[in-house]
């Protein structure tokens, strides 16, 4: 039976959400939706509360079977900038919201590059033919490919 998976990647002010049906065979995954949830402007605690509810509701109401979240990563040896830390807060919120509903897995870009295929993630993201082969159904924004890549990698793990 096909599974319904959601991939999420976060920034300090938005969550990219790719919802897809993963077939049992090796066929392309079916994109159901490619959406962004904005973190509300203003009071951060209230905004996280809204996001938590929005995320939990989405997983519950749509019968999501599993979530894959892009893991935190620090570029090089530099110290984390504030935007990155705030993005990590947002990641924590959606992980906490989804976890009572379904399993939540973290995958970092580095791990995908090491374990999936023989190219780096950015090369797959830029390859239109790769996406034509691995996805079908609804429209997937180019900027959401990295989030969708989480699902492709998790599927092959």
């Amino acid at each position: 039976m096909p599974k319904r998976w959601v991939g999420m990647s976060t920034t300090k002010d938005a969550v990219t959400v790719v919802d897809a049906e993963i077939p049992d065979d090796n066929g392309p995954m079916v994109i159901i939706s490619d959406d962004s949830w904005k973190v509300q402007k203003g009071n951060r605690a209230a905004a996280y509360n809204v996001l938590h509810q929005q995320c939990g509701d989405y997983m519950r109401e749509n019968g999501i079977d599993a979530v894959v979240v892009k893991a935190s990563a620090v570029m090089g040896r530099g110290s984390a900038r504030l935007g990155l830390l705030t993005g990590a807060e947002v990641r924590g919120v959606v992980m906490a919201a989804a976890s009572p509903v379904c399993p939540v897995k973290e995958l970092s870009k580095g791990v995908i590059s090491r374990t999936y295929g023989d190219r780096k993630v950015d090369e797959y993201v830029a390859d239109d033919a790769f996406w034509a082969k691995h996805t079908t159904g609804g429209k997937l924004r180019k900027l959401s490919r990295e989030t969708a890549m989480l699902l492709i990698a998790a599927r092959n793990a």
Partner: protein, 343 residues
């Protein structure tokens, strides 16, 4: 099988709705509850009543299984033995409905965005279950004990009823353009009604009543462009509400989730607290130890005047911050005030 008798004890009447009366009650399992008694109305012939009752009972049963933070919880539903009424036992919301704040005056941007967000989250969850509300308005948004907005009266109105009901129940101001044109309701007409609700809450009853009632003008089109805004309402708010109220349902936010995204970027500061009287609009903002006050006096439709000043919350001197320097026209007053508020 034996019949069981409910120990539900009806108390004082809380109000009259279009579909029946609402009572405070004590339920052995849930404590304080509200009980709505739906009764057969004159417009229900035998077939319509049976069909209506069956569909409502089914929908209420669905709701009773569904728990959501932004939907009033239905505990159970029972039909009277004579078949002429249905009693719905639901959570009691001590904060009452948003009809009262609407009648008191405009709410702050922050309060309206909070309500809009909570309503859209509840609406989105129920749309995902294939349900429509068809009756979103301030009176159907209740506040629970923690002042969280919850949508009530889901599924009371069917497509067959919506126009007849709307004209009788005061909902006509919330009927979308395409519904007037006979297209039927949809998730997008619910979003239209949310837009209307947000507009009403931002402006309050006095301001809202000063414009032609939407029930008479929406059906003729371009309603969203004819709205009159309080001058402190920022342009992003106007754009978001106009988008919800677009005549073309394809140009609206298509889902509650999209509308939520629209609300997310709306500014909620500075916090102006407006009050509206027929001839005077007043805004107050408290900033540290000072208060900024703006007053817009409407002497007649063509004679307006405004002034702004700051004053200490304690002892100290007033400072002028601007004004019209005498009587000016209405259009000019609005433009100057919008400049002052930097919308």
């Amino acid at each position: 099988m034996a019949d069981f008798v409910s120990d539900l004890k009806l108390g004082a009447k809380l109000g009259n709705g279009h579909f029946g009366e609402v009572f405070m009650a004590k339920d052995p399992a849930h404590g304080d509850v509200a009980v709505k008694v739906l009764r057969r109305e004159a417009h229900h012939d035998d077939t319509a009543w049976v069909a209506y009752k069956a569909s409502y009972l089914a929908e209420a049963q669905n709701l009773s299984k569904a728990t959501h933070a932004n939907v009033v919880q239905v505990h159970h539903v029972v039909e009277a033995p004579d078949g002429r009424s249905v009693a719905i036992c639901m959570a009691f919301c001590p904060g009452g409905s948003l009809q009262t704040p609407f009648e008191s005056g405009p709410m702050t941007l922050e309060a309206v965005r909070k309500v809009g967000t909570e309503v859209l989250i509840g609406l989105g969850a129920l749309h995902a279950r294939g349900m429509l509300h068809r009756d979103i308005k301030p009176a159907n948004i209740l506040l629970d004990g923690r002042a969280v907005a919850q949508i009530s009266d889901f599924g009371l109105v069917t497509d067959n009823l919506v126009l007849g009901y709307a004209s009788q129940a005061g909902y006509a101001d919330h009927v979308a353009y395409e519904v007037w044109q006979g297209k039927g309701t949809s998730a997008k007409s619910d979003i239209w009604a949310v837009g209307m609700t947000l507009y009403r809450l931002l402006h309050g009853k006095v301001w809202y009543d000063a414009s032609p009632s939407p029930r008479y003008v929406v059906k003729h089109g371009v309603f969203a462009d004819s709205l009159k805004w309080l001058p402190h309402v920022p342009r992003p708010w106007r754009r978001a509400i106009r988008k919800m109220l677009n005549d073309d349902d394809k140009s609206r936010y298509q889902t509650a989730s999209q509308a939520l995204r629209g609300l997310a970027n709306l500014p909620t500061t500075p916090v102006w607290v407006p009050t509206v009287q027929p001839n005077l609009v007043r805004w107050v903002q408290t900033k540290g130890a000072r208060r900024i006050i703006v007053e817009w006096t409407i002497h007649s439709p063509r004679k307006h005047e405004w002034r702004a000043w700051s004053e200490p919350t304690g002892a100290g001197q007033k400072k002028s911050m601007g004004g019209s320097n005498g009587v000016i026209g209405g259009g000019q007053a609005v433009r100057e005030l919008e400049d002052f508020f930097k919308v």
